[in-house]
Amino acid sequence: MTDVAVAVSAVRSPAVGARRGSRDVRRVLQLLLATAWLVDGLLQFQPFMFTRAFGTQMLAGTAQGNPSAIAHSITWGDLVVGHHSVVADSLFAGLQLLIAFGIAWRPALKAALALSMAWSVVVWWFGEGLGGLFSGTANPVSGAPGAVLLYAVLAVVLWPADRAGTNPRFVAARAVGTSVARGVWVVLWALLAWFAVLGVNRSPQRLNQLVRQMATGQPRWLAGLDDHVAGALAQRGLGVSVALAAALGVVAVGVFLPPALARATTALALVLGAAIWVLGENFGGIFTGTGTDPSSGPLLVLIAAAYWPSQRSASAELDRQSVAA
């Protein structure tokens, strides 16, 4: 019944729309975040998720390589999930749908974002094995530092609050301020850059192996793409990893650059997020019937969109520079 919803949208006067322009961008991003949670919740309804193997094999497999105490906690939690797979998966799916609709339902927005942060941490620990941070296998191409952690980052930077007396350069700065928002950005992208050249990721065949592993269970066209990409990466892992780390590093510092350059580095972040999603993550393995979420690519794109320098702040920057001159 979109006509009714359309009428509600259309009733706003142009003046109100203009005044609320930047706020609307944040709302759009919040709704995209809600959409991501909704897709996650629906994916949780896949038949495989209701089987014992989901907990005892798929989730428990993330314990490998972690320090003993962490690995034991993950194994314990995932065995509980495996032994009560139907109830546990129903709860997971219901909770994710609840978060999605809570973010979309304006009166419940704050509660839903807070719930999403808490749930993200739980899933990051028990479902993603802390993103491989402690096992030495984290690689941005395969989703490090854990896609679900990015949901928590988004919940923070899209929190529905406005710091008084600030002229935010981008949407993400509205709730936490420019300094904190920049800090979050730098930590995130610098971590990704570090992971790209960390330990085993420097080996010549690492990227080749990662891409080849992804091809298993994919549809023919995607497996074919993986085959081509893996072939191109063969024996070139180190060079590509260094280049990727350099690009991620440029993105990390881009948030401190003037608006025009910041826009270019943010565009680079968008491209990298999309490339990682398609070439490295194969759309989060959704087509294999065992994907629990679309992985980190779309979330990196969403985060980059939240840091896109706004026109208003750009003109304010020009004014400031002309005054200084």
């Binding site: 509600v8 038949p47 959704i286």
Partner: protein, 226 residues
């Protein structure tokens, strides 16, 4: 259908309820002289009944071929409406008018998603001509990008409607629209929903809820086919 049995049963129950309610809307709107989107309600009834039959074969009502014809017709209708709307309005109307295209395009996508599900699903048995077994799409395995696209559109539509619903819930619903005595600053949602028409809209929130339920159920079925 794989997974716990109560899940498709629950979704089928929701679809039966939505179909019944939308059928009642089609009858009541005429009787009560209220506005509704007739094409949308017909689409919801058709999709609800069809999906209930796909989820629970015992609820199958029409042969697969007939359902496919129905959804080809609905897809053609919404495609034609989108084209006509774009030809008439783009560049002329206010920005809000562009959203009206989504009204048709979303239901075009839903009709195409129904067709995809019929083409992708395999017959449950040779003797049960209408029964469909949902699951991994065999012959369509190389086209799994399609259900992902459908899933994305349906998810965005559902989320957007929940957002609009929360906005609408803050507006007072006036049966007869905003008259001279209407409180300033409050825009009667019934009038809003009716758009440029003079008749108030019939239960706009309930119709939005039906659309959300339809999107979620269809999304669930598409996920089973990934």
């Amino acid at each position: 259908m794989s997974g716990p049995g109560w899940l498709p049963d629950s979704f089928a129950g929701i679809m039966v309820a939505v179909s019944t309610y939308c059928s009642a809307r089609l009858l009541l709107a005429r009787h009560m002289r209220r506005r509704i989107n007739v094409d949308i309600n017909i689409a919801h009834v058709s999709m609800g009944v069809a999906m209930a039959g796909m989820l629970v074969p015992a609820l199958t009502t029409l042969p697969t071929g007939l359902w496919e014809a129905v959804f080809v017709g609905l897809a053609a209708w919404f495609g034609w409406q989108s084209t006509v709307f774009v030809a008439r309005h783009v560049g002329e109307g206010p920005p809000g008018d562009l959203h009206h295209v989504s009204h048709y395009l979303t239901h075009l996508v839903m009709s195409c998603a129904m067709l995809y599900m019929y083409f992708a699903a395999s017959p449950a048995s040779a003797t049960n001509g209408g029964g469909m077994a949902m699951g991994a799409a065999g012959g369509t395995a190389d086209y799994v990008g399609l259900p992902l696209f459908f899933l994305a559109v349906l998810s965005v539509s559902a989320v957007w409607h929940v957002d609009r619903l929360s906005v609408l819930s803050r507006q007072p619903v006036l049966v007869g629209g905003g008259g001279p005595g209407a409180e300033p600053g409050h825009v009667p949602s019934a009038t809003l929903a009716a758009g440029r028409g003079s008749q108030p809209f019939l239960a706009p929130r309930a119709e939005m809820l039906c659309h959300i339920a339809m999107c979620i159920t269809m999304g669930y079925m598409l996920v089973l086919m990934l």
